[in-house]
Symmetry: C2
Subunit: 177 residues, 2 copies
């Protein structure tokens, strides 16, 4: 198992992306290292193993990478949450605020069975807006959010406060930009 320092060594810091003043945490350097990628998937899957999760939910696009691999590691299904218009069947939608403007996410209305235990997965917890929208979509369909897994948590943005009713677990924390 890799510790926080070893994982951080595999995450590339990109200053001023996508805009000035932001340090982007680039996980592509971690992903291309099979041992690191597999280690991250195993650690997140292991943490939630005892919870008898029925299905993993993740939002496009980077969320799909870890969400799908974790679902497979847990031998359970995967349900995608997507931008409007991308899912072909009947959907429900949640709109959430961004720094400037708003964005929306959709899930198939038959994506989650009532009462099923859901693990929400994403690569990064920033302000928590996207994840909170995914939580709402799952709950509106009668699913129970049994856990929320992140690879990276930008703890200085306090996204965890938006998710305080849930079992939130992240592997790597950054305390400042």
């Amino acid at each position: 198992m890799m510790n926080d320092v070893e994982l951080k060594e595999r995450i590339r810091n990109i200053p001023d992306f996508p805009k000035k003043g932001i340090v982007f945490r680039d996980i592509t350097t971690l992903l291309k290292d099979g041992k690191a990628f597999g280690g991250v998937v195993d650690m997140l899957a292991e943490h939630f193993k005892s919870k008898n999760i029925d299905v993993v939910v993740a939002a496009e696009s980077r969320g799909f990478i870890f969400g799908a691999a974790i679902a497979n590691a847990l031998h359970i299904g995967f349900v995608p949450v997507r931008k409007p218009g991308k899912l072909p069947h009947k959907t429900i939608k949640e709109t959430y605020e961004l720094e400037y403007g708003s964005d929306s996410l959709e899930i198939h209305e038959d994506g989650i069975e009532k009462g099923s235990k859901v693990l929400i997965v994403d690569d990064l917890l920033a302000t928590g807006g996207t994840t909170k929208a995914a939580v709402k979509l799952v709950e509106r369909l009668g699913g129970k959010v049994a856990g929320i897994a992140f690879v990276i948590e930008l703890s200085f943005l306090h996204g965890r406060d938006k998710l305080r009713d849930y079992d939130v677990f992240s592997l790597v924390k950054y305390d400042s930009e």
Copy 2:
């Protein structure tokens, strides 16, 4: 292991999506069935196991789902191919033709090591334009395309003709709309 008929039972047909006359093959019904999703990943990984693949490459967004899970099953790394502007480091780009207009894909220029054996993964082979762009990106970086894996092949669109120099493998074939 599931056969063609069992897999097709888990793929939902959506008439007239994204536009009139097209039958969309919806894999979300397969994905949410853990046994089917795991079976597809295992069958594709198993087929290419003996080729000593170094890394999986897949294009966003649905390609990420199968690509990441297969990379994990093979204990190797994953390299994303994305729409322009999404990857934060230095990239190279390929533009390809669509029915109307064109589209582009990028890969990090340090994504593939020279001489490494690459498995390209996508959910669907239609006309093959996206996959051909991914092949070119990998080869421009000095990678060797050791195989191309699809869940679904729309064989009536003859996408395989664009990829005839490669080891192309798909699990489910549709011979007409």
